[in-house]
């Protein structure tokens, strides 16, 4: 196989060697059930406790017991939205979210709609920022929950989370944020930002797949997710996946520890690639906020080029990028995020997401530009749309 370059780190990342080293002993040396009373159990339990402490510390949770391990971000989002909505249904059945949330939030909201809840989907502007005036105006007496993602997974726009949380609390409403793309990219301090509930996932930050957590501030009620055991304070029963949790704890610790250096690296990769693309390829548009965005994601449109065809041609040369999010990219439908940002249809249809990793090299990026230039030119040569003056 020829050269391969992975630029889909917003979909998932490689498990780092530091994380793997943390996990491996939990598969054989320390294999007890963390709920058992004997020494084997206590050893496993100590590992789970340490992971919980690490996650709590990384987001400045007041207490470690506010971290509930889950199977990942999707489960955490589902649990937060439906679990909180149900627990406060006697107060009201109105929830506010945005049009650009991850499918996990949107589909959980859809389920609640079927149960008779009212959901308001607040719009975003062309840069992907949630319209705060609209959010404020949509608050009602029966609103119980506001859920707005911290960082969008397709364009990388960073929301004004602290301001939104403050608005929510001014009206006595609970605030949840999906921070799956935010951890390790921006500083997250649940106390300072007044966040009541927050979802995280391990595999976006060089941790294993299938594990994440929900941070839930003590005092906030939530329905039990899985009955059948006293794990996770009785809210989510089932034997804890100790290796996964250990890996998650380590991954979060590293993501926060190395945030500054990683962000510098990602920014330099993004700027380098963009500069080279703009030098070599005409008619490109960068989507998202011009500066209020994370460094690891570059959402870019190549006029007159269909994004699926571009993705496939790049893939044939070993370069992995994505269209929209991995959770929806098997569908031929245009990205709901870019559509919600009211971008032109052609911009949406021709956009790809390039998401950088901390191990991407300059020579990898040079190769990507070379392949990209060739693919774009090939597709433009046969494109049924043209632009006057194009080379």
């Amino acid at each position: 196989m020829g050269k391969r370059v992975y630029l889909d780190n917003a979909a998932t990342t490689i498990v780092s060697s530091e994380v793997l080293a943390e996990m491996l002993p939990c598969y054989n040396a320390i294999y007890g059930n963390s709920n058992s009373l004997h020494s084997y159990g206590r050893e496993a339990s100590a590992i789970v406790d340490r992971a919980r402490d690490r996650v709590a510390h990384a987001i400045n949770a007041a207490k470690s017991n506010e971290i509930y391990f889950t199977s990942g971000g999707t489960e955490a989002d589902n649990w937060a939205i439906k679990g909180i909505a149900h627990a406060y249904s006697n107060k009201g059945k109105h929830i506010i979210t945005s049009t650009i949330e991850h499918q996990a939030v949107l589909d959980a909201c859809k389920q609640l709609e079927e149960e008779g809840y009212d959901i308001t989907y607040v719009s975003v502007d062309k840069t992907g920022l949630v319209n705060l005036t609209e959010l404020l105006h949509s608050i009602r007496k029966d609103t119980t929950l506001i859920s707005i993602m911290a960082v969008n997974n397709e364009v990388g726009t960073i929301q004004n989370i602290k301001a939104i949380a403050k608005i929510a609390h001014d009206y006595g409403i609970i605030f949840h944020t999906d921070a799956v793309q935010a951890i390790g990219a921006i500083k997250l301090d649940v106390q300072d930002m007044e966040i009541d509930a927050l979802s995280l996932s391990a595999h976006k930050i060089y941790g294993p797949k299938g594990v994440g957590c929900l941070y839930l501030k003590n005092g906030i009620r939530i329905d039990t997710l899985i009955a059948g055991g006293n794990q996770e304070r009785g809210k989510r029963g089932g034997t804890v996946d100790v290796p996964a949790v250990a890996g998650f704890g380590k991954a979060v610790e590293i993501a926060v520890r190395d945030m500054t250096i990683n962000q510098q690296k990602l920014r330099s990769e993004r700027d380098y690639l963009l500069k080279n693309i703009q030098e070599k390829i005409e008619y490109v548009t960068v989507n998202g906020h011009p500066h209020q965005k994370i460094n690891g994601i570059l959402n870019i449109s190549f006029d007159m080029v269909d994004n699926e065809s571009l993705l496939m041609l790049l893939d044939m040369e070993g370069v992995a990028v994505s269209i929209g999010s991995a959770c929806t990219s098997n569908s031929a439908e245009p990205s709901h995020v870019l559509k919600a940002m009211q971008l032109d249809n052609d911009i949406v249809k021709s956009s790809i997401r390039i998401s950088f990793g901390k191990n991407t090299s300059r020579s990898d990026l040079d190769y990507v530009v070379e392949v990209l230039e060739k693919a774009v030119s090939q597709l433009r040569a046969i494109s049924a749309v043209t632009k006057a003056g194009r080379k």
Partner: protein
């Protein structure tokens, strides 16, 4: 999702591009997905399609459908071309096309019909012009 054969055709379509001397062309698009396809045909004096090319702004399925159909069109009479259906095109994919991409075959079928119609219109105009000049 797509078979190796479909992807090979996508990577190197034999019939992609413009067609010098084309005497019929037709376009069609899908409103929901935004794909656009253009078919160019060169029809000889006996009403047989001598060559066909396509241009596409669309995904793998639209490019491959365009390429497949151009290959089929060469040597066909106009009546045969008009008889081609999206089903005929889909069959050429040998089950290697996701259901939500079936629209590609539909727009290609429409583009063929439009190209043949365009050919007849051009011919009629030319005939009228020739009559005037006589």
């Amino acid at each position: 999702m797509y078979s190796k054969e479909v992807l090979e055709r996508f990577k190197s379509p034999k019939f992609a591009g413009g067609l010098r001397g084309a005497n019929g062309s037709g376009k069609s698009s899908d409103e929901k997905y935004g794909d656009i396809v253009k078919i160019y045909i060169l029809v000889d004096e006996d009403g047989v399609i001598d060559s066909a090319k396509f241009k596409a702004y669309g995904g793998v399925s639209t490019i491959v459908a365009g390429d497949i159909v151009c290959e089929m069109l060469v040597g066909m009479s106009l009546e045969e071309a008009l008889g081609l259906t999206s089903q005929d095109i889909l069959e050429q994919f040998e089950n290697s096309i996701p259901q939500d991409r079936y629209y590609s075959a539909v727009i290609v079928e429409e583009a063929i019909n439009n190209a043949v119609e365009d050919y007849y219109k051009r011919k009629e105009r030319e005939e009228k012009k020739a009559l005037k000049e006589m």
